[in-house]
Protein backbone atom coordinates (compact mmCIF):
# COMPACT_ATOMS: atom_id res chain seq x y z
CA UNK A 1 0.00 0.00 0.00
CA UNK A 2 1.72 3.21 -1.20
CA UNK A 3 1.69 6.52 0.65
CA UNK A 4 -0.56 9.11 -0.93
CA UNK A 5 1.52 12.23 -1.80
CA UNK A 6 -1.54 14.50 -1.66
CA UNK A 7 -2.00 13.99 2.08
CA UNK A 8 -1.15 16.95 4.34
CA UNK A 9 2.31 17.14 5.85
CA UNK A 10 1.52 16.39 9.49
CA UNK A 11 0.05 13.08 8.42
CA UNK A 12 2.96 10.74 8.90
CA UNK A 13 3.48 7.15 7.88
CA UNK A 14 3.01 6.43 11.57
CA UNK A 15 -0.68 7.36 11.45
CA UNK A 16 -1.26 4.29 9.34
CA UNK A 17 1.25 1.86 10.79
CA UNK A 18 0.64 2.38 14.48
CA UNK A 19 -2.65 0.53 14.23
CA UNK A 20 -1.07 -2.34 12.38
CA UNK A 21 1.80 -3.10 14.70
CA UNK A 22 2.76 -0.73 17.53
CA UNK A 23 -0.78 -0.26 18.81
CA UNK A 24 -2.37 -3.33 17.31
CA UNK A 25 -5.89 -3.31 18.77
CA UNK A 26 -5.88 -7.03 19.55
CA UNK A 27 -2.34 -8.06 20.34
CA UNK A 28 -1.20 -4.91 22.14
CA UNK A 29 -4.29 -3.14 23.44
CA UNK A 30 -6.43 -6.28 23.95
CA UNK A 31 -9.58 -4.54 22.70
CA UNK A 32 -12.45 -6.08 20.84
CA UNK A 33 -11.61 -9.60 21.91
CA UNK A 34 -15.14 -10.97 21.65
CA UNK A 35 -15.31 -11.24 17.83
CA UNK A 36 -11.61 -12.13 17.75
CA UNK A 37 -12.31 -15.34 19.61
CA UNK A 38 -15.86 -16.05 18.56
CA UNK A 39 -15.73 -16.04 14.77
CA UNK A 40 -12.17 -17.13 14.07
CA UNK A 41 -12.82 -20.86 13.86
CA UNK A 42 -12.21 -20.65 10.10
CA UNK A 43 -10.04 -18.25 8.11
CA UNK A 44 -12.96 -17.26 5.85
CA UNK A 45 -15.09 -16.15 8.79
CA UNK A 46 -12.12 -14.29 10.25
CA UNK A 47 -11.51 -12.42 6.99
CA UNK A 48 -15.18 -11.52 6.58
CA UNK A 49 -15.39 -10.26 10.14
CA UNK A 50 -12.19 -8.27 9.72
CA UNK A 51 -13.44 -6.60 6.54
CA UNK A 52 -16.83 -5.81 8.05
CA UNK A 53 -15.19 -4.24 11.10
CA UNK A 54 -12.78 -2.28 8.88
CA UNK A 55 -15.69 -0.90 6.88
CA UNK A 56 -17.48 0.25 10.03
CA UNK A 57 -14.24 1.72 11.41
CA UNK A 58 -13.61 3.69 8.23
CA UNK A 59 -17.14 5.03 7.77
CA UNK A 60 -17.72 5.91 11.42
CA UNK A 61 -14.24 7.46 11.66
CA UNK A 62 -14.89 9.72 8.68
CA UNK A 63 -18.39 10.71 9.81
CA UNK A 64 -17.34 11.38 13.41
CA UNK A 65 -14.44 13.47 12.15
CA UNK A 66 -16.74 15.43 9.81
CA UNK A 67 -19.22 16.12 12.60
CA UNK A 68 -16.64 16.75 15.31
CA UNK A 69 -17.42 20.48 15.54
CA UNK A 70 -21.20 19.98 15.55
CA UNK A 71 -21.53 17.24 18.18
CA UNK A 72 -21.80 18.74 21.69
CA UNK A 73 -19.24 17.41 24.16
CA UNK A 74 -21.79 16.13 26.71
CA UNK A 75 -23.61 13.77 24.37
CA UNK A 76 -20.69 12.74 22.17
CA UNK A 77 -20.58 9.09 23.26
CA UNK A 78 -24.27 8.60 22.50
CA UNK A 79 -23.80 10.25 19.09
CA UNK A 80 -20.80 8.05 18.29
CA UNK A 81 -22.72 4.92 19.22
CA UNK A 82 -25.65 5.86 17.02
CA UNK A 83 -23.32 6.61 14.08
CA UNK A 84 -21.59 3.26 14.59
CA UNK A 85 -24.90 1.41 14.94
CA UNK A 86 -26.10 2.90 11.65
CA UNK A 87 -23.11 1.57 9.73
CA UNK A 88 -23.31 -1.79 11.48
CA UNK A 89 -26.94 -2.09 10.36
CA UNK A 90 -25.79 -1.37 6.79
CA UNK A 91 -23.10 -4.06 7.00
CA UNK A 92 -25.57 -6.48 8.55
CA UNK A 93 -28.05 -6.13 5.70
CA UNK A 94 -25.27 -6.09 3.08
CA UNK A 95 -23.79 -9.40 4.26
CA UNK A 96 -27.25 -10.91 4.43
CA UNK A 97 -27.75 -9.91 0.78
CA UNK A 98 -24.32 -11.07 -0.42
CA UNK A 99 -23.96 -14.43 1.28
CA UNK A 100 -26.56 -16.06 3.47
CA UNK A 101 -24.14 -18.83 4.46
CA UNK A 102 -21.64 -16.31 5.78
CA UNK A 103 -24.42 -14.47 7.56
CA UNK A 104 -25.45 -17.66 9.33
CA UNK A 105 -21.85 -18.53 10.23
CA UNK A 106 -21.19 -15.14 11.78
CA UNK A 107 -24.60 -15.00 13.45
CA UNK A 108 -25.25 -12.21 15.91
CA UNK A 109 -21.59 -11.24 15.85
CA UNK A 110 -22.07 -8.90 12.90
CA UNK A 111 -24.54 -6.88 14.92
CA UNK A 112 -22.22 -7.10 17.88
CA UNK A 113 -19.60 -5.09 15.96
CA UNK A 114 -21.45 -2.14 17.46
CA UNK A 115 -20.19 -3.14 20.91
CA UNK A 116 -16.60 -3.50 19.72
CA UNK A 117 -14.52 -1.21 21.90
CA UNK A 118 -11.94 -0.68 19.13
CA UNK A 119 -14.41 1.35 17.09
CA UNK A 120 -15.74 3.50 19.92
CA UNK A 121 -12.19 3.91 21.21
CA UNK A 122 -11.00 5.20 17.83
CA UNK A 123 -13.96 7.55 17.52
CA UNK A 124 -13.35 8.98 20.97
CA UNK A 125 -9.56 9.07 21.03
CA UNK A 126 -8.74 9.93 17.43
CA UNK A 127 -11.51 10.74 14.96
CA UNK A 128 -13.23 13.31 17.17
CA UNK A 129 -10.02 15.33 17.46
CA UNK A 130 -8.47 15.07 13.99
CA UNK A 131 -9.03 15.99 10.36
CA UNK A 132 -11.02 13.72 8.10
CA UNK A 133 -8.01 12.48 6.12
CA UNK A 134 -6.07 11.63 9.26
CA UNK A 135 -9.06 9.89 10.75
CA UNK A 136 -9.51 7.87 7.56
CA UNK A 137 -5.87 6.77 7.42
CA UNK A 138 -5.78 5.96 11.12
CA UNK A 139 -8.98 3.94 10.90
CA UNK A 140 -7.58 2.11 7.87
CA UNK A 141 -4.47 1.19 9.87
CA UNK A 142 -6.54 -0.03 12.79
CA UNK A 143 -8.78 -2.00 10.46
CA UNK A 144 -5.81 -3.69 8.80
CA UNK A 145 -4.31 -4.44 12.20
CA UNK A 146 -7.57 -5.93 13.42
CA UNK A 147 -8.05 -8.02 10.27
CA UNK A 148 -4.44 -9.19 10.52
CA UNK A 149 -5.00 -10.33 14.10
CA UNK A 150 -8.23 -12.12 13.18
CA UNK A 151 -6.45 -13.90 10.33
CA UNK A 152 -3.58 -14.91 12.62
CA UNK A 153 -6.09 -16.73 14.79
CA UNK A 154 -8.37 -17.93 12.03
CA UNK A 155 -5.60 -19.54 9.98
CA UNK A 156 -4.13 -21.42 12.93
CA UNK A 157 -7.51 -22.60 14.16
CA UNK A 158 -8.74 -23.72 10.75
CA UNK A 159 -5.52 -25.57 9.88
CA UNK A 160 -5.38 -27.32 13.25
CA UNK A 161 -9.09 -27.82 13.79
CA UNK A 162 -10.27 -28.85 10.32
CA UNK A 163 -7.05 -29.46 8.37
CA UNK A 164 -8.14 -26.94 5.74
CA UNK A 165 -7.31 -23.35 4.79
CA UNK A 166 -10.02 -21.10 3.32
CA UNK A 167 -11.95 -24.33 2.74
CA UNK A 168 -9.15 -26.06 0.80
CA UNK A 169 -7.93 -29.43 2.03
CA UNK A 170 -4.30 -29.29 3.13
CA UNK A 171 -3.27 -32.62 4.53
CA UNK A 172 -5.33 -35.22 2.71
CA UNK A 173 -7.77 -37.72 4.16
CA UNK A 174 -5.44 -39.26 6.80
CA UNK A 175 -5.32 -36.03 8.81
CA UNK A 176 -6.85 -36.30 12.25
CA UNK A 177 -8.33 -32.88 13.03
CA UNK A 178 -7.37 -31.45 16.37
CA UNK A 179 -10.94 -30.58 17.22
CA UNK A 180 -10.27 -28.53 20.33
CA UNK A 181 -8.84 -25.73 18.18
CA UNK A 182 -12.15 -25.24 16.41
CA UNK A 183 -14.07 -25.28 19.69
CA UNK A 184 -14.31 -22.32 22.10
CA UNK A 185 -11.30 -23.26 24.31
CA UNK A 186 -9.10 -23.28 21.21
CA UNK A 187 -9.81 -19.59 20.68
CA UNK A 188 -8.45 -18.77 24.12
CA UNK A 189 -5.44 -21.04 23.66
CA UNK A 190 -4.44 -19.74 20.23
CA UNK A 191 -4.75 -16.07 21.24
CA UNK A 192 -2.78 -16.80 24.38
CA UNK A 193 -0.03 -18.50 22.35
CA UNK A 194 0.20 -15.55 19.95
CA UNK A 195 0.52 -13.22 22.94
CA UNK A 196 3.32 -15.42 24.34
CA UNK A 197 5.09 -15.26 21.01
CA UNK A 198 4.84 -11.48 20.79
CA UNK A 199 5.97 -11.08 24.40
CA UNK A 200 9.04 -13.20 23.66
CA UNK A 201 9.80 -11.20 20.50
CA UNK A 202 9.43 -7.92 22.38
CA UNK A 203 11.71 -9.14 25.18
CA UNK A 204 14.32 -10.17 22.66
CA UNK A 205 14.12 -6.78 20.92
CA UNK A 206 14.63 -4.97 24.22
CA UNK A 207 17.58 -7.15 25.12
CA UNK A 208 19.19 -6.47 21.74
CA UNK A 209 18.71 -2.72 22.22
CA UNK A 210 20.32 -2.93 25.66
CA UNK A 211 23.25 -4.86 24.23
CA UNK A 212 23.69 -2.15 21.59
CA UNK A 213 23.71 0.54 24.25
CA UNK A 214 26.24 -1.37 26.33
CA UNK A 215 28.60 -1.87 23.41
Amino acid sequence: MAEDPRLPAQLSWDTLTQGIWKENPVFVMLLGLCPVLAVTNTATNALAMGLATTFVLLCSGVLVSLLRKIIPKQVRIACFIIIIATFVTIVDYAIQAISLDLYKALGAFIQLIVANCVILGRAEAYASKNKVVNAFVNALGMGIGFTFALLCLGVVREVMGFGTLFGMDLFGPEFQPWAVFALPPGGFFVLSLWLFLFAILRKRGERRKEALHAA
Partner: protein, 193 residues
Protein backbone atom coordinates in the same frame (compact mmCIF):
# COMPACT_ATOMS: atom_id res chain seq x y z
CA UNK B 1 -36.09 -31.33 29.88
CA UNK B 2 -38.08 -29.51 27.21
CA UNK B 3 -35.77 -27.26 25.16
CA UNK B 4 -38.05 -24.26 25.61
CA UNK B 5 -38.79 -24.79 29.30
CA UNK B 6 -37.69 -22.01 31.63
CA UNK B 7 -35.37 -24.25 33.61
CA UNK B 8 -33.56 -25.35 30.47
CA UNK B 9 -33.19 -21.82 29.15
CA UNK B 10 -31.73 -20.75 32.48
CA UNK B 11 -29.36 -23.73 32.65
CA UNK B 12 -28.35 -23.32 29.04
CA UNK B 13 -27.32 -19.68 29.50
CA UNK B 14 -25.80 -20.38 32.93
CA UNK B 15 -23.61 -23.41 32.23
CA UNK B 16 -23.93 -25.10 28.86
CA UNK B 17 -23.58 -22.07 26.63
CA UNK B 18 -21.94 -19.84 29.20
CA UNK B 19 -21.83 -16.32 27.80
CA UNK B 20 -18.17 -15.78 28.58
CA UNK B 21 -16.59 -19.17 28.18
CA UNK B 22 -18.55 -20.61 25.27
CA UNK B 23 -19.91 -17.60 23.40
CA UNK B 24 -17.05 -15.15 24.09
CA UNK B 25 -19.30 -12.32 25.13
CA UNK B 26 -18.18 -9.74 27.66
CA UNK B 27 -14.50 -10.58 27.55
CA UNK B 28 -13.28 -7.05 28.30
CA UNK B 29 -14.65 -6.96 31.87
CA UNK B 30 -13.84 -10.66 32.19
CA UNK B 31 -10.13 -9.91 31.75
CA UNK B 32 -10.25 -6.43 33.29
CA UNK B 33 -12.15 -6.90 36.55
CA UNK B 34 -11.15 -10.43 37.47
CA UNK B 35 -8.21 -9.46 39.66
CA UNK B 36 -10.00 -9.86 42.99
CA UNK B 37 -12.91 -12.09 43.96
CA UNK B 38 -14.70 -9.26 45.78
CA UNK B 39 -14.61 -6.87 42.81
CA UNK B 40 -15.56 -9.67 40.45
CA UNK B 41 -18.59 -10.46 42.56
CA UNK B 42 -19.71 -6.82 42.62
CA UNK B 43 -19.23 -6.49 38.89
CA UNK B 44 -21.23 -9.67 38.40
CA UNK B 45 -24.11 -8.28 40.43
CA UNK B 46 -24.08 -5.05 38.42
CA UNK B 47 -24.15 -7.04 35.18
CA UNK B 48 -27.02 -9.26 36.36
CA UNK B 49 -29.04 -6.16 37.19
CA UNK B 50 -28.27 -4.41 33.92
CA UNK B 51 -29.03 -7.59 31.99
CA UNK B 52 -32.41 -7.97 33.63
CA UNK B 53 -33.32 -4.34 32.96
CA UNK B 54 -32.10 -4.34 29.37
CA UNK B 55 -33.73 -7.68 28.62
CA UNK B 56 -37.11 -6.32 29.70
CA UNK B 57 -36.53 -3.09 27.73
CA UNK B 58 -35.42 -5.01 24.65
CA UNK B 59 -38.52 -7.20 24.80
CA UNK B 60 -40.76 -4.15 24.89
CA UNK B 61 -38.93 -2.36 22.09
CA UNK B 62 -38.94 -5.39 19.87
CA UNK B 63 -42.69 -5.82 20.29
CA UNK B 64 -43.15 -2.17 19.33
CA UNK B 65 -40.79 -2.32 16.34
CA UNK B 66 -42.37 -5.49 14.97
CA UNK B 67 -45.80 -3.93 15.29
CA UNK B 68 -44.78 -0.93 13.18
CA UNK B 69 -42.48 -2.98 10.91
CA UNK B 70 -39.37 -1.02 11.82
CA UNK B 71 -37.09 -4.00 12.49
CA UNK B 72 -34.14 -2.33 10.76
CA UNK B 73 -33.98 0.15 13.64
CA UNK B 74 -33.58 -2.67 16.15
CA UNK B 75 -29.84 -2.39 16.70
CA UNK B 76 -29.87 1.39 17.12
CA UNK B 77 -32.76 1.24 19.59
CA UNK B 78 -31.22 -1.58 21.60
CA UNK B 79 -27.87 0.08 22.03
CA UNK B 80 -29.45 3.41 23.00
CA UNK B 81 -31.73 1.82 25.56
CA UNK B 82 -28.93 -0.24 27.04
CA UNK B 83 -26.74 2.83 27.36
CA UNK B 84 -29.53 4.65 29.19
CA UNK B 85 -30.18 1.65 31.43
CA UNK B 86 -26.51 1.63 32.40
CA UNK B 87 -26.69 5.33 33.23
CA UNK B 88 -29.67 4.58 35.44
CA UNK B 89 -27.85 1.81 37.26
CA UNK B 90 -24.85 4.08 37.68
CA UNK B 91 -26.92 6.81 39.33
CA UNK B 92 -28.66 4.23 41.49
CA UNK B 93 -25.41 2.69 42.73
CA UNK B 94 -23.82 6.09 43.28
CA UNK B 95 -26.71 7.15 45.47
CA UNK B 96 -27.15 4.00 47.51
CA UNK B 97 -23.66 2.55 47.74
CA UNK B 98 -20.79 4.99 47.15
CA UNK B 99 -18.30 2.33 48.29
CA UNK B 100 -19.52 -0.08 45.63
CA UNK B 101 -19.45 2.77 43.12
CA UNK B 102 -15.77 3.38 43.85
CA UNK B 103 -14.93 -0.32 43.57
CA UNK B 104 -16.61 -0.69 40.21
CA UNK B 105 -15.05 2.55 39.01
CA UNK B 106 -14.64 2.78 35.26
CA UNK B 107 -16.23 -0.60 34.60
CA UNK B 108 -19.80 0.41 35.30
CA UNK B 109 -19.99 2.84 32.35
CA UNK B 110 -18.06 0.30 30.33
CA UNK B 111 -20.95 -2.15 30.68
CA UNK B 112 -22.43 -0.09 27.83
CA UNK B 113 -19.87 -1.50 25.44
CA UNK B 114 -20.15 -4.90 27.08
CA UNK B 115 -21.20 -7.12 24.25
CA UNK B 116 -22.77 -9.58 26.69
CA UNK B 117 -25.63 -7.15 27.31
CA UNK B 118 -26.27 -6.40 23.65
CA UNK B 119 -25.71 -10.07 22.79
CA UNK B 120 -28.39 -11.04 25.29
CA UNK B 121 -30.89 -8.66 23.68
CA UNK B 122 -30.04 -9.91 20.17
CA UNK B 123 -30.15 -13.59 21.07
CA UNK B 124 -33.49 -13.37 22.84
CA UNK B 125 -34.89 -11.64 19.74
CA UNK B 126 -33.40 -14.19 17.34
CA UNK B 127 -34.71 -17.10 19.40
CA UNK B 128 -38.15 -15.49 19.75
CA UNK B 129 -38.44 -15.98 23.49
CA UNK B 130 -41.63 -14.83 25.19
CA UNK B 131 -41.52 -12.51 28.19
CA UNK B 132 -40.94 -15.01 31.00
CA UNK B 133 -38.44 -16.92 28.88
CA UNK B 134 -36.55 -13.65 28.42
CA UNK B 135 -36.41 -13.22 32.17
CA UNK B 136 -35.07 -16.75 32.67
CA UNK B 137 -32.55 -16.21 29.88
CA UNK B 138 -31.25 -12.92 31.26
CA UNK B 139 -30.97 -14.27 34.81
CA UNK B 140 -29.13 -17.34 33.56
CA UNK B 141 -26.79 -15.30 31.42
CA UNK B 142 -26.07 -12.88 34.26
CA UNK B 143 -25.48 -15.69 36.73
CA UNK B 144 -23.23 -17.45 34.22
CA UNK B 145 -21.22 -14.28 33.69
CA UNK B 146 -20.83 -13.83 37.45
CA UNK B 147 -19.81 -17.46 37.89
CA UNK B 148 -17.14 -17.22 35.20
CA UNK B 149 -15.86 -13.92 36.58
CA UNK B 150 -15.64 -15.17 40.17
CA UNK B 151 -13.97 -18.45 39.16
CA UNK B 152 -11.45 -16.56 37.10
CA UNK B 153 -10.76 -14.08 39.91
CA UNK B 154 -10.18 -16.97 42.32
CA UNK B 155 -7.69 -18.55 39.93
CA UNK B 156 -5.88 -15.29 39.38
CA UNK B 157 -5.60 -14.61 43.11
CA UNK B 158 -3.84 -17.96 43.48
CA UNK B 159 -1.74 -17.30 40.40
CA UNK B 160 -0.18 -14.22 41.97
CA UNK B 161 1.69 -16.52 44.31
CA UNK B 162 2.89 -18.81 41.55
CA UNK B 163 6.35 -18.53 40.09
CA UNK B 164 5.93 -18.22 36.30
CA UNK B 165 8.42 -17.10 33.62
CA UNK B 166 8.51 -13.36 32.83
CA UNK B 167 6.95 -13.51 29.39
CA UNK B 168 3.93 -15.48 30.54
CA UNK B 169 2.61 -12.89 32.97
CA UNK B 170 -0.38 -10.69 32.23
CA UNK B 171 -3.01 -11.18 29.57
CA UNK B 172 -1.47 -14.24 27.94
CA UNK B 173 -1.64 -16.19 31.19
CA UNK B 174 -5.19 -15.02 31.90
CA UNK B 175 -6.28 -16.22 28.46
CA UNK B 176 -4.63 -19.59 29.01
CA UNK B 177 -6.56 -19.92 32.27
CA UNK B 178 -9.75 -18.86 30.51
CA UNK B 179 -9.10 -21.58 27.93
CA UNK B 180 -8.80 -24.20 30.65
CA UNK B 181 -12.00 -22.96 32.30
CA UNK B 182 -13.72 -23.04 28.95
CA UNK B 183 -12.53 -26.61 28.41
CA UNK B 184 -13.99 -27.51 31.80
CA UNK B 185 -17.31 -25.92 30.97
CA UNK B 186 -17.53 -28.04 27.82
CA UNK B 187 -18.14 -30.90 30.21
CA UNK B 188 -21.60 -29.46 30.83
CA UNK B 189 -22.51 -29.94 27.17
CA UNK B 190 -24.70 -33.00 27.76
CA UNK B 191 -26.51 -31.47 30.72
CA UNK B 192 -30.29 -31.39 30.51
CA UNK B 193 -30.00 -33.18 27.13
Amino acid sequence: MQPDSHAFIFLNAFLINNFVLAMFLGLCPFLGVSGKVKTAWNMGLAVIFVMLVSSICAYGINALLVRYQLEFLRLICYITVIASAVQLVEMFVKKFSPALFRTLGIFLPLITTNCAILGLALFQTNREYDFTQCLAFSLGAGAGFTLALVLMAGLREKLELADVPDVTTGAAMSLMLAGLLSLTFMGFAGLGG
